[in-house]
């Protein structure tokens, strides 16, 4: 008899049902898990280690069955892992480039043999990653391993890199950080999220089998991402690279604050991405793509459908037709169902209409649903629930599309659909996201440099640009790292400044009062207060400078954000002209500036003159860089064209070092504005005089008013002000270790890109490079820090 599970040919002939999907076999992966008795440990020193009585976490599959369990590392494991990585670094970095390249290339062969097991394990653990994508990554980065010294001379690996991912991060995203780190000669400690842990362990085993020296790749599992911070306490660790959701990333930033390690965050999971359909689009193709990407079971990003009003009816009509027969999507838990139901109820109450396939669903699954009539303020757009929901917004004009697309804290990616190339490129330029897919979506390739914009990240991944985070200029020696101190973050920078009373006031030489420079005007601080500036090694008051604070920073940022877009859009040669004329302006005021440098530092005129001379030269160097910092057209894996270009960050806050007060100011300023940024600078608290003298040069320059702002005063107080202004996208900081710790802890919401250098107390050189004769890699490091990368994909037939 026919029943629902075994219908007759005639039944199917009439219903045209597709039949059950054949369950894919997972025998190989199961055998591997069984070999490890289904409880996985850590991978270090080139072998599996599972100490007894470690707490374990079980990983369940979609049907609720236990796949395996992973162990939680304890302190002993953490230190063993760190020393394994340190040893691994020694052996791995001492190999030649071609030896490393060969080792990575051998993995491709090993992966060919065991690809089945890897893909089955990924499917079991829902950490999607196709072996083909892994092979592509390996081939690309083994190429870079080979060419490191040829194409990136002057840079060396940082040391031990800790790569952390959150539970919901895919294996691909994880490997996109692990492999470049390895290729550059670092050893890696991976702290994978729960779902990526078993495949990561398998890969580590395969990599070691392929001849990777023991300790080069280590896997440490635990209950949450703060394990990443714990393992970073080891002094050999030099970088933390994180990928995954935003909350865990912020937790990691806070946990590792004060360790003196840069954290490169990429919150690729859970970002909201616009999917923009213009009226000039191939609407059928756009709708097909939406349906393919928006209702997957495991979505790394949340899509928001933005449709031009004139075609919204036809988009909705097609969605209705195409979705009529779609099946419900399994949710990860019953609790999610409650959240989704609540969100849909709320949407309905706010007047949204639903597009859903007919037929109800129950339990932990939900039908694909489009919520028409959403607004940017709708709660399900702001914080999307975990389910197959797709909000649909409408826009009127092309500019409004960009506004909608940009109106989100995320800046991960966007997909735009139009057959109009000009419109596509204009929109791609204006969207502040890392990847723009024109008439396509969700494609990725390691040769594209991508930076998460806004809250989506602080680092660049992919391409040559993405390698620099794993390298440091070879001139700088590895510095001792500070250790975190207990810092009361709310009290930082609130201490009253030390008051200096001029001890011997002699009537005829009352120290001069210098103004600061805000919004293109030389002015006093808002508070009206001044602080005294003393010469190096002297007690007498040299001059008075304004005591800037929060409100000065606010005014400066307001002025800066007004002119920055215009400055960014100027042609590079126009920016170069402005910098050349700034150099000329400095030349013409050479005498005054020399005098201020001399007076401030108490150095002979000759030495002061040399610093000014070098500063003029430096400005000319940056002027020359203006039109040399450029993107390119990386090769695409499919036919079509792709563009990658550097974009300025926006407004950059800079706290300047004490060393070479004029030269360092000019060097850093040049890097920032040559690439199109606006700056708010805090000169050295101890030696602000040269900066104040430079204000006069700026005043007579033809830079737009507000592009460069100089605020003097208490460094900590101004650091706090910079840290708490959300418009400021990046902070470059030279200062105390506490300041670094404060910034790393505070600049998480919204996320700021930080470049921190701590100076040891006293006259020690600290992290300061040689400003007078910087190697090319220092300048490169500076401008690379001043830009973020965007990739635009334009696939063609």
């Amino acid at each position: 008899m026919a029943d629902s599970t075994n219908p007759t040919v005639y039944d199917i002939f009439q219903s045209m049902e597709q039949g059950p999907a054949a369950a894919s076999s997972t025998a190989t992966a199961q055998a591997w898990l069984d070999h490890h008795s289904r409880s996985l440990g850590f991978f270090m020193d080139g072998k599996f280690i599972l100490p007894a009585d470690r707490r374990s976490l079980s990983l369940t599959d979609s049907k609720g069955g236990v796949v395996c369990s992973t162990a939680c590392a304890e302190d002993a494991d953490v230190s063993q892992c760190a020393s394994s990585a340190a040893a691994g670094w020694m052996s791995w970095s001492s190999l030649s480039c071609s030896q490393r390249a060969k080792a990575l290339l051998r993995l491709v062969g090993v992966l060919g043999l065991h690809g089945q097991c890897v893909s089955e394990l990924c499917a079991l653990c829902e950490a999607s990653c196709s072996p083909a994508a892994l092979v592509r990554l390996l081939q690309y980065y083994s190429g870079w391993a080979q060419l490191r010294d040829t194409l990136i001379p002057g840079w060396t690996p940082v040391g031990v890199v800790v790569v952390v991912s959150s539970d919901d991060c895919s294996l691909y995203s994880l490997m996109l950080r692990v492999l470049p780190a390895l290729a550059m000669g670092n050893s890696v400690i991976v702290v994978p999220g729960r779902s990526a842990a078993p495949p990561a362990l398998l890969l580590a085993q395969l990599f070691t089998a392929a001849g990777l020296p023991a300790g080069t790749l280590n896997i440490l599992t635990g209950s949450d991402v703060t394990l990443g911070a714990k393992v970073s306490q080891n002094p050999d660790v030099r970088l933390i690279a994180y990928c995954g959701n935003k909350q865990d990333g912020l937790a990691l930033c806070k946990a590792s604050a004060g360790m003196g390690i840069p954290v490169s965050v990429s919150s690729c999971v859970g970002a909201t991405c616009p999917f923009i359909i213009f009226e000039s689009a191939d609407i059928d193709s756009a709708v097909d793509e939406v349906i393919q990407i928006a209702f997957k079971k495991k979505n790394e990003v949340h899509w928001v459908l933005c449709v031009q009003e004139s075609v919204s009816d036809s988009v909705v009509a097609r969605l209705k037709l195409r979705m009529a027969d779609m099946k419900s999507v399994p949710l990860s838990s019953d609790a999610d169902r409650v959240l989704v139901d609540a969100a849909v109820q709320e949407a309905l109450q706010q007047g949204a209409t639903l597009v859903q396939p007919c037929g109800a669903s129950s339990g932990a699954q939900y039908p694909p649903t489009v919520l028409c009539g959403a607004a940017p303020s709708s709660p399900y757009v702001v914080s999307p629930p975990p389910g197959p929901l797709l909000p649909l917004l409408t826009f009127r004009s092309n500019t409004e599309a960009v506004l909608l697309g940009n109106h989100s804290p995320h800046g991960h990616a966007a997909s735009i659909w139009t057959e109009d190339l000009t419109l596509a490129l204009e929109t791609a330029k204006s969207l502040s996201v890392g990847s723009v897919w024109v008439n396509s979506s969700s494609v990725s390739d390691p040769c594209f440099p991508v930076s998460g914009h806004k809250d989506s990240g602080t680092g660049t991944d992919g391409g040559q640009e993405g390698l620099y985070q794993f390298l440091r200029p070879s001139f700088s020696s590895a510095l001792p790292r500070p250790s975190p101190v207990s810092l009361e973050y709310s009290k930082f920078g609130t201490e009253a400044a030390q008051v200096v009373i001029p001890d011997s006031p002699n009537g005829d030489s009352i120290p001069q009062s210098y103004p600061q420079f805000v919004g293109g005007k030389a002015c006093k601080s808002v508070s009206g207060c001044s602080v005294a500036v003393q010469a190096r090694g002297g007690d007498s008051v040299l001059v008075f400078c304004p005591d800037g604070g929060r409100k000065d920073v606010r005014n400066a940022v307001e002025a800066a954000i007004k002119v920055q877009p215009g400055w960014m859009k100027k042609s590079p040669s126009a920016r170069a002209q402005s910098l050349y004329s700034l150099a000329k302006g400095l030349e013409s005021r050479r005498k005054e500036v020399c005098a201020s440098v001399g007076a401030q530092l108490g150095v002979p005129a000759k030495e002061a003159d040399r610093e000014v001379e070098l500063s003029i030269g430096r400005l000319n160097v940056w002027a020359a860089y203006c039109d040399k910092v450029q993107g390119g057209s990386p090769p695409m894996t499919q036919s079509g064209a792709a563009l990658s270009f550097p974009e300025p960050l926006g407004v950059v806050g800079i706290v300047l070092p004490d060393d070479a007060p004029l030269l360092s100011l000019v060097t850093v300023l040049g890097a920032a504005i040559a690439t199109g940024n606006a700056v708010v600078m805090v000169p050295s608290q101890r030696f602000p005089l040269p900066a104040l003298a430079f204000v006069q040069v700026l005043q007579s320059s033809n830079l737009p008013a507000g592009l460069v702002n100089i605020i003097t005063g208490n460094r900590d107080q101004l650091t706090v002000a910079l840290a708490n202004h959300s418009v400021i996208k990046a902070i470059w900081y030279w200062g105390s270790a506490q300041g670094c710790q404060y910034l790393q802890h505070t600049c998480t919401s919204p996320l700021k890109t930080l470049r921190l250098s701590w100076q040891q107390a006293g006259e020690g050189r600290g992290a300061a490079p040689d400003w007078a004769q910087p190697p090319p890699s220092l300048l490169e490091d500076l401008w690379r820090n001043a830009v973020q990368w965007k990739s635009v994909w334009i696939p063609t037939a």
Binding site: N6, P7, T8, V9, Y10, D11, I12, F13, M16, E17, Q18, G19, A21, A22, S280, A281, D282, I283, D284, S285, A286, D288, E289, Q292, D313, S314, V316, A317, R318, K320, L321, A324, D325, C358, W417, E419, N439, S440, Q638, S639, G640, P795, T796, A797
Partner: protein, 417 residues
């Protein structure tokens, strides 16, 4: 009784979905035997495709017929373009579609609509790749799908050496496309499985009609016409060809479009030609062959599809089988999207017929998947989907043989066509 005013097809579509859900619920609850008729009369103002449609949905239950008139003044029979009723058998509603007419009446030529057509080639190619990568049905599902595919076939012979004898063999094969004993073992022998039609040159129509009549079959005979395959003959002789094929008993005419007009963008002239063909066809259904291999771009294919539908084609067909490139999946995607677009705007369902180069059972399954994915199950019906093929049937039969017996058939074990 339902009585609703709708002002666009989109809304109408929504209502039918609502009704569908309502009835399903109703049947589950009461398990009542109810027959219902959905009447729908819509009057799209021809030529105005802003889809201002006044519609009226009536539902009759328990034989009690009631009719509400659109706007209260026009008798139902006179409204719009025709009235179609669809009587549904008692039982849960499984299929409820809005159909105004069994045939596509066509619309005025709308050049503005054509001018807005955009097709992104790479996205279409990617979609085609995706569809080819989808999992195909297995086991009895595969066999059922293959039998379905057989029921869509326009069994074709278009060769210079066609004679009454091989046309006769073709007709007999069309009536019994799969060996009787094989069908019997699947309990499919009494389900009236035949191919959809036989397709021949105009001069062989009479032979085919005679053979089918002799076998007591009502299988339609399709004839290619209008200077097949190139269409490079004068309009007058092309029209005459249609008339003669119809006179000889062909109930389906496969016409070819004038590629010269399509390639030079003379859509208006092409529209007028096809309208004339449609008139010449009379009651015979018209399939319009676009010869997509000659049209150059996807945009051109989309536009040609649209013009053919506006001119009243019942089917649009990919190719003659004589061009260098025949039925490909990307081209099919462009054409079925045009069909969907036309349906969304006018409410008329136009059929689709890929032809040329479809030889294996595997390909047939992909074609069915493509239609199911893009247009839905509604189109998986011989009045909306055909496969133009000659050697495909043999491979389908071999696969069915394998499913039933577990063995691979030797060529001589299966009847030749």
């Amino acid at each position: 009784m339902f009585n609703m005013m709708v002002n666009s097809f989109d809304a109408l579509y929504g209502i039918t979905l609502d009704m569908y859900q309502y009835f399903n619920k109703d049947f589950e609850k009461k398990n009542k035997k109810t027959s219902c008729v959905l009447y729908c009369h819509l009057s799209p103002s021809r030529g105005d495709n802003s889809s201002h449609v006044i519609g009226h949905v009536l539902v009759q239950r328990k034989e009690k017929f009631s009719c509400q008139q659109a706007g209260g003044s026009v008798p139902a029979e006179q409204v719009g373009l025709g009235l179609e009723e669809r009587t549904l058998l008692p039982g849960p509603l499984t299929h409820l579609s809005v159909k105004m007419s069994a045939r596509n009446p066509g619309t005025n030529l709308d050049l503005e609509w054509l001018s807005k057509v955009r097709v992104n080639t790479q996205a279409v190619l990617k979609r085609a790749q995706h569809i080819q990568g989808l999992k195909l049905p297995k086991k009895q599902w595969q066999t059922a799908w293959l039998l379905k595919a057989a029921s869509f076939i326009d069994l074709t012979t278009l060769a210079g050496d066609d004679t009454p004898s091989n046309v006769h063999r073709l007709c007999v094969k069309a009536i019994q496309p799969v060996r009787y004993d094989l069908l019997r073992r699947m309990d499919m022998h009494d389900k009236g499985l035949t191919t959809a039609a036989v397709c021949v040159y105009p001069s062989r129509v009479a032979d085919a009609v005679r053979s089918l009549k002799a076998a007591n079959s009502s299988l339609p005979v399709a004839s290619v016409a209008t200077g097949f395959p190139t269409g490079q003959t004068p309009l007058e002789t092309r029209l005459q060809e249609v008339c003669m094929a119809v006179r000889d008993g062909a109930t389906e005419i496969d016409i070819v479009i004038n590629r010269t007009l399509a390639l030079t963008g003379q859509w208006d002239a092409m529209y007028r030609e096809i309208v004339q063909f449609r008139e010449a066809c009379g009651d015979a259904h018209m399939k319009t062959i676009l010869a997509t291999g000659d049209l150059g771009t996807f945009t051109n294919i989309y536009k040609a599809s649209m013009v053919a539908m506006m001119a009243g084609s019942d089917f649009i067909k990919t190719s003659t089988g004589k061009e260098a490139v025949n039925a490909t999946y990307p081209v099919a995607i462009v054409m079925v999207r045009a069909i969907r677009d036309y349906f969304l705007r006018t409410g008329h369902k136009v059929g689709f017929k890929p032809a040329g180069g479809i030889r294996t059972a595997q390909e047939a399954l992909v074609w069915l998947t493509l239609i199911k994915e893009e247009l839905g199950n509604d189109w998986l019906h011989p009045h909306l989907f055909r496969l133009g093929a000659s050697s495909l049937l043999a491979d389908i039969e071999r696969q069915v043989y394998h499913h039933v017996t577990g063995q691979y058939a030797a060529y001589h074990e299966l009847p030749m066509a």
